[in-house]
Amino acid sequence: MAAENSKQFWKRSAKLPGSIQPVYGAQHPPLDPRLTKNFIKERSKVSTVPLKNKKASSFHEFARNTSDAWDIGDDEEEDFSSPAFQTLNSKVALATAAQVLENHSKLRVKPERSQSTTSDVPASYKVIKSSSDAQLSRNSSDSCLRNPLHKQQSLPLRPVIPLVARISDQNASGAPPMTVREKTRLEKFRQLLSSHNTDLDELRKCSWPGVPREVRPVTWRLLSGYLPANTERRKLTLQRKREEYFGFIEQYYDSRNEEHHQDTYRQIHIDIPRTNPLIPLFQQPLVQEIFERILFIWAIRHPASGYVQGINDLVTPFFVVFLSEYVEEDVENFDVTNLSQDMLRSIEADSFWCMSKLLDGIQDNYTFAQPGIQKKVKALEELVSRIDEQVHNHFRRYEVEYLQFAFRWMNNLLMRELPLRCTIRLWDTYQGLLMLLQNLPTIHWGNEEIGLLLAEAYRLKYMFADAPNHYRR
């Protein structure tokens, strides 16, 4: 039922900016067969054209133009299947589209920010409290965020579209003021985050359509299971966990040159300079050292998998998000020597723990023979064969195996396939999913719920296993 409804939703809202691109909905619901059909048609017309580039640029363009459309939905939009949401009429869609366009035209007119803001930044901004601590004193954290320390350095600027600078779904400074809706959404997050015991289930629902950047770091810490829901315990937990991490460093990091860890360290050392090679932030020695420590410690604490290429990519979103607590914009060109030792240590430890939490759920992706990935690729194949036989047969005819292209998708959680800022947005939703899957809301279940579940299971079994043609035309 739920699946059907949400499918309806995506169909209905095809006119909504932000909903027509299959990439955004990649996790849920499954690909709309109609979209892929069109895609195939186009593809066969221009089969020899380097499709990859064309796709990439149009997606890029699309993402740029609609990244602020995520908050358009109704404020109660968490429940996609609710009838209210489905009746979202075209008037609303048009109005929002107009709003988006207007915002963007304003953005374009806005002159480039000057690079000489260094002297305007009071020294006190160097000690912005991490928002996890500052969460309760909203106003102060607000003003801090509006006055970022940025571009205090002369790292070479990349002439291409920034990958990370616009990680925000909504306004960074320099963007037009928040819409009422954005404000309400942010307010809702703040309420949830500051209540004595944060309702994680509610937070997860709110995060599905994207987390406002102001509250993203705290939200991620909570949804990954790193921080406790109880506000009072958070500060202590943070402190304890950060100390624990640096305890590991003290205890283990010197062993990187010992014989039994040499291969691990060497592999990490080779991979770090080529992690996000196009983004200047990651070319800084301090940042590279942080990555090396995080990865090495994780690797030796998880000997069943150890360090596997691709895990290095997975640290990046966490690092950028936790760094963004101290830097308002242009994260990718930010010189981290502008941050205090303490700030850097917090970012490092938090990135480590959140990455660990993420990997806890998918460790079999990286153990011998990578069974997790094999299973997921198999599932993908199964899914495609069900929902788009044409594509599936096309692959078969040309002897294309799913592993040949989808392996990396799974191994790097699509990070190589999307610009970093899109990955971050995507992970707003992942974190929620992860949270759901690791903490299924089944504690209070009784016979009635089990009965319902079994009925649903039976229906699905009937639909898929007994009638494999269900999705075919």
Partner: protein, 206 residues
Amino acid sequence: MDEDVLTTLRILIIGESGVGKSSLLLRFTDDTFDPELAATIGVDFKVKTISVDGNKAKLAIWDTAGQERFRTLTPSYYRGAQGVILVYDVTRRDTFVKLDNWLNELETYCTRNDIVNMLVGNKIDKENREVDRNEGLKFAGKHSMLFIEESAKTCDGVQCAFEELVEKIIQTPGLWKSENQNKGVKLTHREEGQGGRACGGYCSVL
């Protein structure tokens, strides 16, 4: 068009992590070089048509990840390959020392015994060389491989490496003919045993 292509050859590139497998491939197919190319995950794939001795061959080249963990993926790529390029980094002795492991891998997974193997020493533009050219030559000779040193960065020797490999494969009709019997294209055979013809300065060892 594909019509005048004599045959399609499957080439596999293997070797330790960071020796420059992807760089070698990118230099050959796209004539570009990036000093910090992201690590290959699983396998990458490129196609390029080249002409050797007036014969056009379409190369389907599989570029594998060097890290051990991904090695469970590769057996299927060895199957049906006509040529294998085994790369090491002349500035890192460890990548040379591990060549034996890669040969084991080759022997285990290759389905045919007349497959053409080529040993390639990469990064000769760098100054901190740790593996002497003669060592490479000797190793290649001992294991009946073609041998070449090159630099993906400066382009030195790259084209040559692929040409020699393809030439050798074409000279071994058993490797590719059976699959292309219906093509009706006659191979213009040159006198064999003229190694080094195209690649002055480099020598190939059989």
